[in-house]
């Protein structure tokens, strides 16, 4: 069964450093998403991406964040200068239609020290 994969599973970084979280969505999916989940809290939408551009973003997704689909398979989330409060689980998701089921990856746990 096709699945969304994410790397790394755990990333530890120093405050102020740049991180790139990587995702490989399901191959025939066209819509891609990033969500985050701070420990013990609800899942929060960050951004959706379609046709090589951001289709929607939340207030959390400020200028420190960017997304890219550098090739036909990867979808990345970059945080330019990490803050302590960026520590969270980051989930990538993909779907084959704008309002169809979103399939989630296993997540990357980001720890900012």
């Amino acid at each position: 069964e096709p699945e969304v994969t994410q790397t790394p599973s755990h990333q530890v970084t120093q405050m102020g450093q740049e991180v790139i979280l990587r995702c490989v969505p399901i191959s025939n999916h066209l819509y891609f998403y990033w969500y985050r989940q701070i420990l013990g809290q609800k899942v929060e939408f960050l951004v959706s991406f379609y046709n090589n551009e951001i289709s929607e973003k939340s207030e959390i997704f400020d200028d420190q964040f960017s997304v890219e689909r550098p090739d036909g398979s990867n979808f990345t989330l970059k945080i330019r200068s990490t803050k302590l409060e960026d520590s969270a689980m980051y989930f990538c998701a993909s779907s084959d239609g704008a309002r169809n089921e979103q399939f989630f990856g296993p997540g990357t746990r980001l720890t900012v020290l």
Binding site: Y33, K42, V43, F45, S58, A98, R99, F104
Partner: protein
């Protein structure tokens, strides 16, 4: 208006019991309501979803009840098993955008 309120925060049920998790929303523009199941260390996985044109949907042991006028929906798990122990999230999505709005989650424990 953007919130989905979920209760209870945690729930312990004996095996074979019927845990019920409730969610409520305000925004009438929401038109798709999925439930996700999340095991520790894993990403959320879609369990079952409903649109507001039906009042109930059943898939296996999982049933969603939907009350459009009250703007509430709930998840029932029939004949619950210890393997159902997980965190359950309700969510909603508007008819005009892409983002899932999530409830706070319910940690469910099924005791053997």
């Amino acid at each position: 208006q953007q919130q989905v309120k979920q209760s209870p925060q945690s729930l312990i049920v004996q095996k074979g019991g019927i845990p019920i998790i409730n969610c409520a929303y305000e925004n009438t523009a929401f038109d798709y309501f999925p439930w996700y199941q999340q095991f520790p260390g894993k990403g959320p996985a879609l369990l079952i979803a409903i649109r507001p044109d039906v009042s109930e949907k059943k898939e296996g042991r999982f049933t969603i009840s939907f009350n459009k006028s009250a703007k509430q929906f709930s998840l029932h798990i029939m004949d619950s098993q210890p393997g159902d122990s997980a965190t359950y999230f309700c969510a909603a999505i508007r008819n005009s955008n892409y983002q899932l709005i999530w409830g706070a989650g319910t940690k469910l424990i099924i005791k053997p």
